[in-house]
Symmetry: C6
Subunit: 248 residues, 6 copies
């Protein structure tokens, strides 16, 4: 039998792709988790932005923690002009905040209030198709969980979300929160990591009264990956991983 | 593309602004968290007081933990005469305690009892506009949570609060409580830090049977910031941070 | 502007006042917390007894953990004759136990059963006025919480209690319990310390298979205070703090 | 004023009375707590048995964990013949188990099933009076809590129990359970220690893969006591404390 | 008075009886607890099997975790032929699993489904009498708890079970589970150890990346016992304890 | 009596069978547990795949975490062509995901939605019989628990599942999740390990900022097994255990 070869999607995060055989397996779903202030949103947006900028792959960002306009402004500090690629039809941002907080939205793509999970997936699917997106970011899982009006089981919702993303063939990043990864709890609900096919932890470690950032690939199916803790920084151009650096 | 420049708001806390590229990003919302007795209220009031005194920026303080009159008296011990700037229309204090405890209030700005979150935000908005405030303090989030009569989700309320403050374009400090920051839990409800755009931890560390104060910037969007633990003191003139000091 | 001067109330606890600029700020409310057997009741009663004996300031003790007569007997072991000052109108003890346990009380001041927080505060206010008290002790907060028949929020009750005591202008000590202060939880409900304006922790530390007592001032508004752990003892004359002692 | 002298009740436990100024304060209530197998029942029964044998003081044992007949048999292994003193009217055992488990009891004193706390206290009071008891043991508090059919608050029940025992003037031992005293939780419900006037912890510490017994007096009102951890053993004659021994 | 002598029941576990004055006190109830895979079932069955084989004492095994036939097969790996002694009327196995899982049982003794605790005890009593059993094993307490259809308090059920076993005069082993004995929690519900008269912990300790088995007698009434941690092994002939071995 | 010999089922995992006397006891049920990303699914599928490839034993895989087609694709990265053996009738995959997420399935074997535990077992039984399977994998227990529509007790369901698998005589692997095995909690619900007859833990340990994989056999009835922690790797050919390697 000829050796099976997995197609790889370059992340656009300097230093990172070398750790995972060249990129994410195409069509996979990856969980990016960590405590507050570790760069999860930046990691996720960089994946979509660089996809458009460097690899000509359209991408969709579902922003559930802040409005599209606030996200755009923030990303400018990395020199990332999301608007430019939105106008070129290479990036689409779905605003999931405005309607919830009762503010009018002038966004092209915006979620209605009181959406259930099916409606949410259908809307995302439609936007993905409209720009023929290859990359998707959903920021974040806890924000989805909050919006679910029915009494749905978070594990079942994630299983459904994950499977439908696989069916769509899109390479996706979902973000979630972890208060205390060192204590063994690497996600908000304790189930996200078991449903996702890849898990990347962004965390902090204290060294000489200073917190240092590190990244750990806890899981990546179809991929031979290192389980080392790699230092990374959030520079003025976004996240840079140092595969040969030492965190201690 | 020309480099995007973030406007900075000087905090008026000696030694602090150097740690965050000159000040808070204008229009951002910052969470100040920590255990009891670490100086959260002092930090927040100093931000508004120095705004009026040094930078001619009007500010609003929403006090939900103690009456306006008690806050004024306390701040006198730092030599801060809030009354003076209130009379000049540079500071406004919204008393959120008197009505709740059933005492009459002679305050100009006071919250009614049984206010819901919309009413609360509307009232704050009105006071902010009336003095054209550029700075806002809400002390504290747990006190808002307690006042919510309806069964509202604290995460959703914070998301709404945060977004509306961003929409108002005002630079804000929200305070919350953290019983045990070293155990990874840096806020009361475990969600405040994920919704806020900046997180500053005020904490204590024991050294030779004495507790020492330190400050840690856990998160500050649009800002390149240090993640070091800096010593600070509560002097007779308020908080002073020592960027070159060592806490151990 | 002339420097604002805070009036100080001497506690009558040898060695303690030097740690807080001469005494409690007049009119403040202080929380005394700690595990069982650390001397919280002794600390609180000493404050009232010495007020009457040394400073000619009348004081009220609300005893919710044991009957007035049991408290009187116990304090005799320190040589403190509460009865004497009660007869002189310098001390009043409000018995909050007899009615609850269904025993008749011959006390002059006794709480009725089934009192709500308003009734409780009104009764305390009346007794305070009747002897023109300057000092007040409520022993303890968990006992108040238990007595609340309605479904009241403990944080709101404490906020009300604290504000009304401030309004009365009386200097007060409230006691509460802490099972495990070293684990970061310094009070029974996790909210008492945030509402009070001063927090004193009485705790134990093990040294050579012996538990040693120490005291830590965690918070004291309007006061520059040390954050060191000071050794103290419960002598046959009451509590004595050793400001220059070492606990390790 | 003449120095107040506290009457002392000798416990009959060799080596122990020296640690507490000669014995328990007369009329006090002491909590004996600890993990399983540390000797709580033995400590409590020894107090009553030696009272009858050495000091001619009648005593009552309320046994809620095992039947009177099982307790008698067990205590024979220490050479203690409870039956002998029961026949002399110096000891009375109230069987609180037989009725609960649905077995007939031939005991002279036995609790009925479904007793509320008032009925329980009334019955105990009657038996105490019938032999003019000076000492009382209730083994154990969790067993009382289980029997309470109404939704009573354990803290309020203990406050009532404690106060009525004080009113009766009887010197009492109550036992309770502590899973993990080293973790700061020294009782089953976390409230027993705050209501009782004395607290004695019986615990174990590991030394060279062997568990060693030690005793710690955590609290004893009206008494100047050591806070050292003292080794003790359960010998064939009952508990012996070694005031000059070392546990490590 | 002549010294009271406790009759001893030899366990048939090599090396163990020497640690407890020759055997269990006759008629007592012993709890065997520990994490998974520590040999609780083996310990309990060995007690009954060796009773029949070496001491001619009939015994009953109530198996609630696996069917009688599965237990028999497993025990063959230790060379124990339970069937042989069942045919001789020296061992009876009560199958408590088949009916619950809806499989037909050809067992002579089998529990019906939906049994309450009284029915359970009555059935066990009948089987014990039918072979005049001196030894009894119930494996396990959590399985009883699960089967209780009514809302019964586990502590009360255990008190009843324990007392009735004492009344029957039979020497019994009950097994229970302990996830984390080192953390102080030595049983599933935190109450089993307080109700039982003996407690034996089977646990594991890590030494050089290998887990080693040890046994600790935490409690044994009427018995002077060591509190040392003894190594043991599960050999091809069952459990062997090494009283002079070292676990570290 | 002739020595009882247990039949062994070779796992097909290099280096593993030597640790357990040559293989799993035939007909037993083994729990494979561990945190995310430790290789539980790979371990389980390898057991069935190698059974078909090397030992000519048919096997069934129940996949409840991902669709059959996703599982097939993933396993190709180890060079395992499940499809080939499915066509030969040596492997059957039951898709338990498609119906739940509302996607159509073209699988030959697929679970309907809303299945109760009896229906689930009946379906599995039918597929096992249809290919005369000797090996079975159910991936995973938490996914079963989620699907149970009725309020069934997880312990009772596992007891039933385990007993029926034993009755079927099939050698089975069940997977479950463990967030923090080092803290003593080696399974999701804290009961799986007590019901299963074998427990294998796949876990990670940090060494020089790198996580290393190890395997520990916590329990294996009818088997003399080591309790050492063995290093293993997930190679491009699947899992390989190193019986003579060192993890530290």
């Amino acid at each position: 039998m000829a050796k099976y070869v997995v197609s790889r999607v370059k992340t656009g995060i300097p230093g990172f792709d070398d750790l995972i055989e060249g990129g994410f397996p195409q069509g996979t779903t990856v969980l990016v988790t960590g405590p507050t202030g570790t760069g999860k949103t930046t990691f996720a947006v960089q994946f979509v932005y660089k996809g458009a900028e460097l690899y000509d792959e359209p991408g969709v960002i579902v922003t559930l923690e802040e409005r599209a306009q606030d996200l755009r402004r923030e990303m400018l500090s990395f020199g990332w002009d999301l608007k430019k690629y939105e106008e070129q039809g290479k990036i689409a941002i779905i605003d999931g905040v405005s309607s919830v907080v009762g503010l009018p939205s002038e966004e092209r793509f915006a979620l209605e209030e009181g959406l259930n999970v099916e409606g949410f997936l259908r809307y995302v699917y439609r936007v993905v198709k409209s720009i023929n997106a290859k990359r998707l970011v959903i920021d974040s899982i806890p924000s989805i969980a909050i919006r679910l009006k029915e009494e749905q089981n978070i594990r079942e919702v994630l299983l459904r979300l994950n499977t439908i993303l696989l069916e769509m063939g899109i390479t996706s990043i979902l973000t979630t929160e972890s208060e205390d990864p060192k204590g063994g709890k690497i996600s908000k609900y304790g189930v996200e990591e078991f449903v996702a096919r890849g898990v990347i932890l962004l965390d902090l470690v204290e060294k000489d009264v200073e917190l240092k950032r590190y990244l750990l690939i806890r899981k990546m199916r179809e991929t031979k990956h290192s389980m080392k803790k790699y230092p990374f920084e959030i520079t003025e151009n976004g996240i840079v991983v140092y595969p040969s650096g030492e965190i201690y």
